[in-house]
């Protein structure tokens, strides 16, 4: 019984990891670089420009939002935005896409 349920749990994990694209709205890198400026861009402007995306909200009032920029061959660069408690972009960073297999 226990083994069966563990197998079921493992299968569920397998199903949950089948997504090809990483989570987050897909936006071209150039558009993100041009639109999102630390110290200026607001959360409302981000929503208006790109719609809601994957995000994490913290007790401190900060939020981290993540976007994916297609980089060819099914790869994605990751663009992460830190929004401060006042709703202003505090920092951004780009994570280069993983090397093609």
């Amino acid at each position: 019984m226990k083994a069966t349920l563990i197998l079921c749990a493992a299968l569920l994990v397998g199903c949950a990891t089948q997504n090809a694209a990483p989570p987050g709205v897909q936006v071209p890198a150039e558009r993100l670089q041009q639109t999102v400026l630390a110290g200026q861009t607001t959360k409302a402007q981000l929503l208006a420009a790109f719609g809601p995306t994957k995000n994490v909200r913290f007790d401190s009032g900060f939020e981290a939002w993540v976007y994916q920029s297609p980089a060819g061959d099914g790869r994605f660069a990751e663009f992460v935005v830190l929004i401060d408690p006042a709703g202003i972009v505090a920092k951004t960073r780009t994570r280069a896409p993983a090397p093609a297999p």
Partner: protein
């Protein structure tokens, strides 16, 4: 249910219940840390020093619930007859003493806070690691020691036994699906691995407990109030050597002249 029954009958005089008197010297919260398990974690540290040959081992108490006061915590090893105070420093680090009597009595490690209000971690540090960075081999060993010592204070009544079944140190510390959470000193914005010329920033999915914790799920995670300090590292990935440095970019930069 049986606990309720015991509580209800505990107030009856023994003769009234027609039973002999039993003296209970202490009661243990089942979630309190087992001294034997923590000693097993220390023994694992000694056995697997190859990950961090020059490192030292301490343990740390961390907040698990909002509003828990983390100042002035006292700690003791408590058995049926033995009670050993354990000094805790101002950052809530401590070194667990060895005590044969406590081992024999299957003692518990008790802190002066409600058990569910804190979580625990091993802290293994190799001398000479640049300030504000961690060393991957130290973290690999922290995972093994932490799991062996039973330090993680997640609480999922529904899936507890499933996670236990998949929760051996080997399963958690050597698998890409391993879920051993580390906590940085301050809220993080990025975590970068550096090994010689190779430099890689961890994906968003390795920060903030995967970024998938909903308000409903958070109370079950021991990252509940530390979510913005939480990260995974690729413990399982042998292409990153033990001497790999783990560097943090924080949400708020440290003031000039202050060590990050």
């Amino acid at each position: 249910m049986s606990g309720l029954f015991m509580a209800a009958t505990a107030n009856l005089p023994a003769h009234a219940a027609g039973q002999s008197t039993v003296t209970v010297k202490s009661t243990r919260d089942p979630v309190d840390k087992s001294y034997r398990k923590m000693i097993r974690g220390m023994e694992r540290f000694e056995r697997e020093r190859a990950f961090a040959p020059n490192a030292t081992l301490r343990f740390q108490l961390l907040p698990r619930l909002p509003n828990v006061d983390m100042r002035g915590i006292t700690l003791r090893v408590a058995g049926d007859t033995v009670s050993v105070p354990v000094p805790v420093d101002e950052h809530n680090f401590f070194v667990l003493p060895r005590n044969g009597q406590a081992l024999q009595e299957d003692a518990a490690v008790l802190a002066s806070r409600k058990t569910a209000s804190m979580t625990w971690r091993a802290r293994i540090e190799t001398p000479g690691v640049p300030a504000g960075m961690r060393r991957l081999g130290d973290l690999r060993l922290e995972c093994r020691v932490g799991k062996e010592a039973g330090l993680v204070s997640n609480s999922s009544p529904l899936f507890g036994w499933i996670s236990d079944a998949l929760d051996s140190p080997e399963g958690v510390c050597t698998s890409p699906d391993g879920n051993y959470l580390f906590f940085a000193e301050r809220p993080i914005f990025a975590v970068t691995l550096r090994a010689g010329e190779r430099v890689e920033t961890l994906p968003f999915s390795m920060l903030y407990a995967g970024g998938d914790q909903t308000p409903d799920m958070l109370p079950f995670c021991d990252c509940q109030v530390l979510l913005d300090r939480t990260y995974y590292v690729p413990l399982w990935d042998a292409s990153w050597p033990d001497d790999t440095l783990v560097e943090f970019t924080y949400m708020v930069d440290a003031p000039a002249g202050v060590t990050p």
